[in-house]
Amino acid sequence: MTKNNIIELIDIHKSFGSKIILNNLNLKIKKGSSTVVVGGSGTGKSVMLKCILGLTNPDSGTLLYKDQELNEKSRINSKFYTKIGMLFQGSALFDSLTVWENVCFGLVQGHGMQIPEAKEISMKNLKKVGLDMNIANLSPSELSGGMQKRVALARAIAASPEIIFFDEPTTGLDPIMADVINNLIIELVSDLGATAITITHDMASARKISDTIAMLYNGSIIWQGGTNSIDTSGNDYVDQFINGRADGPIKLNIYE
């Protein structure tokens, strides 16, 4: 692999109707790295992940996975979906299945594992995200939002994927649980050698879990650099964002 990039987004454009969401977006993700993408609400961070995952198609631009172009066909041929895990912002648990069946789902469907073995792995993963075993037989609708998020997290990591996408993993969790999840993400990257791409608004979590931070603004990545250089980026947009100031170059159209 050239430059060790496992995922590359090149000149990605995406609009919904006349609304331009992603405009000339470029992003490189190093293998084994932990990248956090930050950016204002509604700037298209979730849309960017969905483009990589093939859940929505970019209008133009190129996506690369290990230097191979990613499209509908190559995702199937390279068994892309057995190598990734995705935590959806809204959890997206299957409400017709129980908690443990949700966590098992990818193991059974994607990896052809037998149910007893898959169930055992599911239980281990539920424990990892700090959930009690006695919720395993409940339906997702019987859980709190934070618990659902953690079940979804367990489902995303159950098959030990090569690349894990987290869309706001700590939103809606209490500070202690958020830190447990932070540690889990760090462990997945350092121990299992996974590559993590995380979207978060939680700057404390971003600093803790990432080695690279990228900022999405106005449809493109305006800054990408090491986490330890974020405070000295010299970029006014980044400064304003990470310090959470209302005044600065980023204007919100609150009164529109």
Partner: protein
Amino acid sequence: MFLVSFIGKITLNMLSETGRSAIFLFNTLSNGFTRPFYFKAVFIQIIRIGYNSLPVIGLTAFFTGGALALQIYVGSSRFNAESMVASIVALGITRELGPVIAGLMLAGRVSASIAAEIATMRVTEQIDALITLSTNPFKYLIFPRLIAAIITLPILVFIADIIGIMGGYVVGTMSLGFVSESYIQNTVNIIENKDFISGIVKAAIFGFIVAFMGCYNGYHSTGGAQGVGQATTRAVVSASIFILAANYLLTSLVFTQ
């Protein structure tokens, strides 16, 4: 000017909907007939679509048969042909009313619930989650529902036929004064296999329409809870219209003997 652009818009809409449904059907069939097969999902849907619809189908068929007997009695007594009641009820139910009523009831009951379920899965990103977990939604969600409806509706219609004829029999013998043996004899004499078969073939096609409209409208829903509502309404309305249109076409093209 306005009219022209209006007609143009409707035509374009219709064409794009037709194209989109054709692609949807192609995706369903091309994915559905490859491994792995979700037999369990088909079985669950057969129970949900078929077994759970039995009470509704039974009741509507019974009352329709009864009302049909009353109306035909009124009509036939004007020609002193009251003895025709049993035969006309039997033919009317098996050839026409059994399949149409079962189809319409299932358009209400099953199209709506399929559309609501799949639309909710769409707006809560569960369909996206399926894909990221290596599961093809056409194979896992759509195909089992189509197959289950195509298998189940003929069975339901067969049951509706029998209960509908029984409805006619009950009304005929209890309130119209027919003798039980001769009513049964008249029914048995008139009915041929092809009367049943035409209804059963129609039913399979209605089953396809019911499930397809539910799946298609649910799958393409957008925009939150409101979108789920719209998808459900559209599924029921379009399934009902297509069932009635298909019924007329089938009757006039194939089943006039």
